[in-house]
Amino acid sequence: MVAKRRKGVRKSLIALFFVIVAAVAALIAVNVTDQVDDISLGLDLQGGFEVLYEVEPLDGEDTEITRELLTDTVSALSARVNVLGVSEPIINIEGDDRIRVQLAGVEDQEQARELLSTQARLEFRDVEDNLLLDGSHLAEGGAQQNFHPDTNQPIVSVTVEDVDRLQEVTSELAQQPQGQNLMAIWLDYQEEDSFQEEFGSPDSKIVSAPQVRQPLNQRDIMIEGGFDVEEAQDLAGILNAGALPVELEELQLNSVGASLGQQSMELAVYAGAVGIALIFAYMLAYYRFMGFIAVLTLTTYIYFVLVVFNWLNAVLTLPGIAALILGVGMAVDANIITYERVKDELKAGRTVMSAFKAGSRRSFSTILDANVTTILAAAVLYYFGTSAVQGFAVMLIVSILMSFLTAVLGTRLLLGLWVNSRALNRKQKLFGVKEEHIDEVRS
């Protein structure tokens, strides 16, 4: 009988609602694990290590540190990190003269640090420290890990560009008496260094100093340094990656053990899940049917944030999680602002349909202004901020845009389908509005 008094319920709209919800749910169910796996975690969550370098001009040179020089250094560093086999290194220029390198999941941190900060300037000098050959005389990419033909020891071979030049210097060397006819192969020679001091000292910058008995008429020079295979491969790798055009000084080193990171992450995810469950429960209890819609849109919101975040190749860190929480807060807030408006209109005696329309219209500008103001603040933080502040800002902007999309458009669409289907007519209770709070229905 009740049904007769009402206009007929438009079941097609309700069916459409379920189709949309099922489609989104299916998409999330199929895709969410992939998305979660794709998230690159920051060092604070995953473990690894981070070095902040100050870039200084090479010893004795008075070059200005320009943007171009920094970019060159970054590419040289990236090439070296490839030697390490780190999948997703993060190398950023910060300020005017700093470079931050973040390597997640590196096992041998000591090796990595050495590999990064070595300039890899290979030089050939005589015992009087006179320069014979340097990197500019070597063929690009010509370094190779090899084995010594006689002893089978791992060695590094480099290729000279100009065979005549090599012959010239070696023929001079070969005329020197025994003990003076050494060709010292230096790595990162500096002005104050001398052959006398360095040769044979522990941790020497002289990789090796072979005797030259006769002029060399060949393209390849073998460097024997008592390496093991891995060391020889690393040296060949960084020689090929190219020398650094600058000197790097470690300002800060931050290494995070992976198991510590793992533990923090599990706890944070668990706590986050509990928090979101509480929010859902509260929304359901307080806003009833609208709360149910909120649960749907908030779930979609979290999924969308993950997708966009991966799409931007952003790295999730603790400050990022902070921004995500703020984003959840703002998404919930957008829902709450709309629902409170709808409730107000219902209490004022409007019908469900007109209350929904008026409520969404009136809440729109509020939500828009609040979101634009916060995005504006986030954009400024991104523009002027550094590392952690920037990470926070990116996550915040993504969160706000997605919350706007889901909480405003999503809610309007989903709730709108139900309201327009007329199934909710006169069911103010479903909105958490009690009958005694409703004003006399206006005639």
């Binding site: 604070d44 473990g47 000591e110 640090r113 300002l251 080193l253 931050n254 290494s255 995070v256 053990g257 198991s259 510590l260 533990q263 923090s264 706890l267 944070a268 706590a271 986050g272 509990v274 928090g275 979101i276 509480l278 929010i279 509260y282 307080y286 603790l318 400050p319 902070a322 921004a323 929480i325 703020l326 959840v328 807060g329 807030d333 709450i336 602002i337 409170e340 107000d344 009136r362 500008s365 509020t366 202004d369 609040a370 979101n371 634009v372 103001t373 916060t374 504006l376 603040a377 986030a378 400024v380 933080l381 523009y383 002027f384 901020g385 550094t386 590392s387 952690a388 502040v389 926070f392």
Partner: protein, 315 residues
């Protein structure tokens, strides 16, 4: 919870002087504390090294200390952390060099099977980050004032920024009182609260703007404060529900999120309380006071002009 705002007799504006007084006194104490006692700066803001040792089982401070003593080190401070006290955080102010940290890592890897987490920091990095965040917030504030002036009115912008700094300073004051260690995630928490504070204040102001537009004549302070009060009561349910839901998230992180998030989530919870307080009791009231002064000046000016005109016409 029921907030039927049409019957409510709550008056948020009447006691504004008490709220202003409370905040002023609290923040003054804060400034004094910050300039004398300061914050308990963590290793992010001081040069030194921290070594986080993850043991397989619960450990005691003495155990960690004796492990360090075995290889000849004496940490300046040892704090236990982790769910079962299975993490020992040893701090060395002044710092360790590469060789030393390697030695410690090797030692503990042999002892507990986990490579400890070694952070060596020069304070410039943390200090610069904090400075950078501070300057960015100042610039962002200018942007907010500009936007709010265009969309609303200049006085709303000023009041919103006062509320924003109120909330940020509130967190700093609380942290100065409890002397909890301040780290880089703390900065993220302060930024989060600033974002929340803006959002919250704008929502309230939006309602005030809407209600002001409905009034035909708003000239006296009483009229303005009636509008403000009505708006605050109308948005009360939203304010409380929103802060409750965000507190659910931040509170869950505080209670269940583990040691790494404790400082961060505590700062969030404190900031949320401060943010709600300032939105309900400070920002709108401040706007009402500023607005009524502005209106008074305008009326005064109009009266003088009228008198001048009358004088001109009589002579």
């Amino acid at each position: 919870m029921k907030f039927d705002h049409r019957e409510s007799r709550l008056d948020f504006v009447k006691h504004r002087k008490k709220f202003f007084m409370f905040s002023a006194v609290f923040l003054l104490i804060g400034v004094i504390l910050l300039s004398t006692l300061g914050l308990n700066l963590g290793i992010d803001f001081r040069s030194g090294t921290t070594v986080d040792v993850l043991a397989e089982d619960s450990v005691s401070e003495d155990e960690i200390a004796s492990e360090f003593a075995e290889i000849g080190y004496e940490p300046d401070d040892i704090v236990l952390a982790g769910e079962n006290n299975d993490i020992g955080r040893a701090s060395f102010i002044g710092g360790l060099d590469q060789q030393e940290s390697l030695e410690i890592q090797n030692h503990f890897e042999e002892t507990y099977g986990n490579v400890p987490n070694v952070s060596t920091v020069t304070p410039i990095v943390g200090e610069e980050l904090a400075m950078n965040a501070f300057i960015s917030v100042l610039i962002a504030s200018l942007g907010i004032i500009l936007y709010v002036t265009i969309r609303f009115e200049f006085l709303y912008g000023i009041s919103a920024i006062v509320a924003l700094f109120h909330d940020a300073l509130f967190i700093l004051t609380i942290f100065s009182i409890v002397q909890m260690e301040v780290n880089i995630p703390f900065i993220a928490a302060v930024l989060t609260i600033i974002g929340y504070s803006i959002n919250d204040t704008i929502v309230t102001f939006d309602r005030i703007r809407e209600n002001m537009a409905k009034e035909k004549v708003v000239e006296t302070f009483d009229q303005i404060s009636a509008v403000v009060n009505k708006s605050l009561i109308q948005t009360l349910a939203r304010s409380i529900n929103t802060v409750l839901t965000v507190v659910f998230a931040a509170g869950a992180l505080l209670l269940l999120g583990g040691e790494g998030l404790r400082v961060f989530s505590f700062a969030l919870v404190v900031g949320l309380v401060a943010g709600t307080y300032s939105s309900l009791f400070i920002a709108a009231q401040l706007w009402a006071v500023l607005k009524s002064k502005q209106v008074k000046r305008r009326l005064e000016k109009e009266r003088l002009e009228r008198e001048a005109e009358e004088e001109a016409s009589t002579t």
